[in-house]
Amino acid sequence: MVTIYDAKPGLSRRELLKRGGIGALLVISGSAVISPEHAWGLETSALKPETMATLIQMARDIYPHDQVPDKYYAIAVKGHDEQAGKDAAYKATIEDGIADLDKKSGDGGYRGLGWEDQRVGVLKQIEATPFFQAIRGGLVVSLYNQKEVWPIFGYEGESYSKGGYIARGFNDIEWL
């Protein structure tokens, strides 16, 4: 099982500092991917935590929204860890896919590429692979179907319990 938790698992801020964690986007610790800046962590059980960290970066590069924090991308891809735990062939697809991505990215690996354009260039090379399609296809639901991200886009979601929009601005446009 993958758990997302809001506090850092076991690592103090000092330890993170020691590992050079602060300032980096995501830190790997044991079986966890940690976001020191935003105080959340994600523990993996089947996939390597490095793989998960790369998946999170890859998810952001596929559907980049600068106003959406990493946490939601992490939630969006955690299903791959669960799936990998149940299905060895699936696990291999993901691990091999990420390994290939890293290889194509040069010495520092995929996460080592500094510009989004560079990473997108690598993604373009693998766009047609079942690996990429599995990640992208799952993501379009798992990212945008999180109720927590809807307000970031100005989508208000469920409205029945609030009595619809009949008294809440269904026709409030003013600039026409």
């Binding site: 559907y63 379009v140 945008y144 886009f153 409205s159």
Partner: protein, 523 residues
């Protein structure tokens, strides 16, 4: 009290499907004292159970049994196992539908005579005229509470409509209003008026929008002549040596096969399932499937020439608030070949929530060009194009050669290629809609490809002559007197208008015919 009929009762009319066609026919017959069993593959969810959530509602109501696709339409690439977005639930697609209820135009019943022969199109005149349909349209509008008819006011315009209207005015379009909607604009029929919740596609939790689920079906049940059997998937229609149909084999809620005997069978499973069932009922006597001496069962599949255009503005719109489809421009619905195509199309307001917008705006797309569109979701307005598409013999439903469903029934394959007329019409509509939004100040527009089909038509077409089609002007099979087709698969051609008002009108008309024939003992 809802009736309950014995499996061996061979005096009942068995209807397959409880949607627009089947649900209406069932109630109309029950009101006349005819005993009816409706077999419905889906479960029964009442309107309180509906979910204001796009994927959640899809999981609750949509038909997700596997289908396959082929042809040059983009749906075959992006959604290879989801050719259609329709429903498997009591009430059928009238749970999901948006309520737009338009009469066909006179010439749309006479396309072969009006448009002439068109290469690659299997055009044919309907065996009925608008004049014959008018009294039934009136009955359907009264039954469904269609706004703008019977002195019912039109719905108030929401934000998305106001943008559409402003653009329509700038372009000089004349006929633009909030539509003829089968949605209560005032309380009537013991149901509330529209509360502008904006989840029409997810089932109306207020019951303001007409659906057979909470209008026709309970009314029919109240007569004591109607039984709706949910979780009952029809697999095969049986017949006797004379060729008359005698009963329907179905898988019950436990997957066990049962046979309901019948005096008459009416097929209303929507235009993919209805031909699938007729084809799967092939026998020694009818080796090509029931009612298929013409070879037309499954052919001429139509889905309307659709597409959407979304536009982004520098100021907020909040298009998702309020009635999804209460907004229409009808000026382009005319037949005017000078535009480079025959037939016409409507513009109707449309909005998707963020989850569906992400899935359908440009399926498969990724990267910033795509995501910056979603970044301005609350600044978006949108419309849907719905136009007449050309019937083609090769656009068809067939039984899959080797894949079967959970009950061992071959799954359906849906083949569709656009006719050049469809493409020309769609491109015209994209251009007009882009100009419309530009006129209101859009900073970016998106010509969005057609979604999985919500309108599915034509696969058991109606024809004057038995050689040209599957059913006659009453939806009665040319080959088998006590077999009827009662859904949109009867359509000879598709017209520019949303189909449901016509499906309901045909069902009312068919009920009169069936009852009369039963009294006369001809069936």
């Amino acid at each position: 009290m809802a009736a309950s009929f014995d499996l061996n009762n061979d005096g009942v009319v068995v209807i397959i499907g409880s949607g627009a066609g089947g649900g209406t026919l069932g109630n109309e017959l029950a009101q006349k004292g005819v005993d009816v069993v409706i077999l419905e593959a889906g479960a029964r969810h009442e309107y309180e159970d509906f979910i204001n959530d796009e994927w959640g509602s899809f999981a609750q109501l949509a038909w997700t049994d596997k289908r396959t696709t082929s042809g040059d339409w983009r749906v075959a690439k992006d959604f290879p196992n989801l050719p259609a977005w329709i429903v498997k639930s009591v009430g059928g697609s009238t749970t999901h539908w948006a309520g737009a209820s338009l009469r066909f135009q006179e010439h749309e019943f006479k396309t072969l005579s009006t448009y002439g022969k068109l290469e690659g199109a299997n055009l044919l005149d309907w065996p009925i005229t608008l004049a014959e349909m008018e009294p039934y349209y009136a009955k359907a509008e009264a039954k469904m509470g269609v706004t703008g008819t019977n002195d019912w006011p039109r719905l108030p315009g929401n934000n998305n409509f106001k943008v559409l209207k402003a653009g329509a005015d700038k372009l000089g379009y004349k006929e633009c209003h909030t539509g003829n909607m089968a949605i209560n604009s005032v309380e009537r029929d013991d149901r509330m008026s529209c509360q502008q919740t904006g989840f029409c596609f997810q089932g109306c939790k207020w019951g303001a929008k007409w659906s057979t689920l909470y209008t026709e079906i309970p009314k029919g049940e109240a007569t004591g002549h109607l039984e709706v059997r949910p979780n009952a998937m029809a697999i095969k229609i049986n017949h006797d040596a004379s060729g008359k149909v005698t009963g329907v084999v179905y898988a019950d809620k436990d997957g066990k096969l049962q046979e309901q005997k019948a005096r008459i069978v009416a097929v209303a499973g929507n235009s993919i399932e209805s031909p699938r069932l007729l084809l799967n009922s092939a026998s020694g006597k009818f080796p090509d499937g029931l009612a298929n001496s013409s070879g037309q069962v499954g052919k001429n599949y139509m889905r309307h020439t659709t597409g959407s255009v979304y536009a982004i503005f520098d100021k907020p719109v909040h298009m998702y608030r309020g009635t999804t489809m209460a907004g229409i421009i009808r000026d382009e619905a005319r037949h005017d070949p000078s535009r480079g195509f025959v037939g016409g199309y409507e513009f109707e307001t449309l909005s998707l929530g963020l989850p569906f917008m992400a899935a359908f705006l440009d399926p498969g797309a990724w990267g910033r060009s795509f995501t910056t569109a979603l970044d301005h979701y609350d600044h978006m307005a949108g419309l849907w194009i719905v136009g007449e598409d050309m019937p083609r013999a090769e656009n068809r439903i067939t039984l899959h050669a080797d894949e079967k469903d959970a009950h061992g029934m071959p799954i359906a394959d849906v083949h569709f290629d656009d006719h050049p007329n469809d493409t020309a019409m769609r491109n015209h509509a994209y251009k007009q809609a882009t100009a419309l939004y530009a006129a209101v100040g859009a900073t970016r527009t998106f010509p969005t490809p057609p979604y999985p089909s919500t309108h599915n038509l034509g696969t058991n077409r109606m024809s004057e002559k038995a050689a040209d089609g599957v059913v006659n002007k009453h939806g009665q099979a040319h080959d088998i007197k006590n077999l009827f087709v009662s859904d949109g698969s009867q359509f000879t051609t598709g017209a520019a208008e949303n189909p449901t008002l016509t499906i309901v009108s045909l069902a009312i008309r068919q009920a009169d015919y069936i009852a009369a024939q039963m009294s006369a003992k001809t069936i």
